[in-house]
Symmetry: C2
Subunit: 248 residues, 2 copies
């Protein structure tokens, strides 16, 4: 299990344009002949995680040269998402992959249930100690925080949980992707796609990341401009804050 | 199994702001007290589908008031994605949900293997006959085309497969989301998120769609501007075209 080498974002891999995994042909990048260090990517799942938090970055990172993405859980087997409508399979137990090169912790309402779950937090701590990259999407950052990873660092989370980060010694920021050395956190749910493209550039070079972006045709055209608290109607932001508070 | 009523995009549901499913609390919209017609959403999976094609729209559509998303396959059970690294569970067989209100067909390299698969195509035909919405992401449109749904309509697909649509009597367009009455197709992989927000607005009103956008914090910030053939470097587009052709 070797992690990815970290490189500055502008040192693109020369052969990167050759390594374009294609949705049309299921060719992962290494099958197209790119020679690069393999990247062992671990995505821990848990009951009531949010699917897009995990699957967005997976769709980008799985296309890295030599990438191997493994979905983990306390026990191998089915793991159901926050709304109960979708089940993903965790291929391995946490203990089966203690030292991945890249850790990506997704968020979801279930994250709150694990803030004192020692097996998960110990796994994150051990993985982080040896990782090249320790990352989270949405409220996955609360688990990084609970494991002690964010102490003294800037970090982000879902906008409804930003303040919670302070309890773990982190400095919350509203930026969408927050890089602090090898620790990278991203904002709510869909932000993991942006973070994964940043990571792809760091790991395999900008040209490669651009190729992945083109393959997944990530040229977003949201029909509305309501995706952040800065842009949404203040009344909407207030209404959601009130309603969520009512369910705590 | 009742489908969603179709409404013009500007007739928002008055109570829509109340129905904001929250990743922080796993509250699907109907649990927050919205009264609206239930939406039965069927997403057929198949071997070597592309995960984000299905999970992006699921993350939006599952938050609709009264939404019930069901992942289907020829047989219930595990279905593995294009790169072999992720398995989702199909809860039901195709025949278990013959008339959903909304059909969403994801793409992936496996779609090409089903272009003459009568059980899948017959299911799409029957579902489309009764649906309120028949939709696809990426090369899912090839399956709609093979089922005869796109004859004479404008439609889109992954940029590498746009021309293939002509063989089904469709008129390919490069637009990201293509609405033709109740038939809505979207471009490659990540475009399903944009399409799902358009559908959310049509079904539950713009205010509700904006609330979902905020909850999934969909305020995209791609680190590069390489997500379409118009924007990516011509050399990159050419290289990918050549390489994919080599694998056919």
């Amino acid at each position: 299990m070797r992690g990815a080498s970290r490189r500055p974002i502008d040192s693109s891999v020369k052969s990167s344009r050759k390594g374009t995994g294609t949705p049309a042909e299921a060719t992962s990048a290494h099958r197209l002949g790119v020679c690069a260090e393999p990247v062992d990517i671990a995505i821990p799942l848990y009951d009531r995680f949010t699917a897009l938090d995990a699957v967005g970055p997976y769709e980008v990172l799985s296309r890295l040269p030599g990438a191997r993405v493994t979905f983990l859980a306390h026990e191998p087997g089915p793991v159901t998402t926050d709304n109960g409508m979708l089940t993903l399979t965790a291929e391995s137990a946490l203990e089966d992959l203690p030292r991945p090169g890249l850790v990506l912790v997704p968020g979801g309402p279930g994250a709150r249930d694990l803030l004192d779950d020692e097996p998960m937090l110990a796994w994150i701590r051990e993985a982080h100690e040896h990782s090249d990259w320790t990352t989270s999407v949405c409220t996955g950052s609360l688990l990084l925080g609970a494991a002690g990873v964010l102490d003294g660092l800037e970090a982000t989370s879902h906008w409804l949980e930003l303040e919670t980060l302070e309890g773990f010694g982190a400095r919350p920021t509203g930026r969408r992707v927050v890089e602090q050395g090898k620790v990278v956190t991203s904002a709510g749910v869909s932000s993991g796609i942006d973070m994964a493209l940043v990571l792809a550039a760091r790991i395999a070079g900008e040209d490669f990341a651009k190729a992945v972006q083109l393959m997944i045709e990530y040229d977003p055209e949201p029909p509305f401009d309501s995706g952040s608290t800065d842009k949404a109607a203040p009344e909407l932001v207030r209404t959601i804050r009130e309603r969520v508070a009512g369910f705590r």
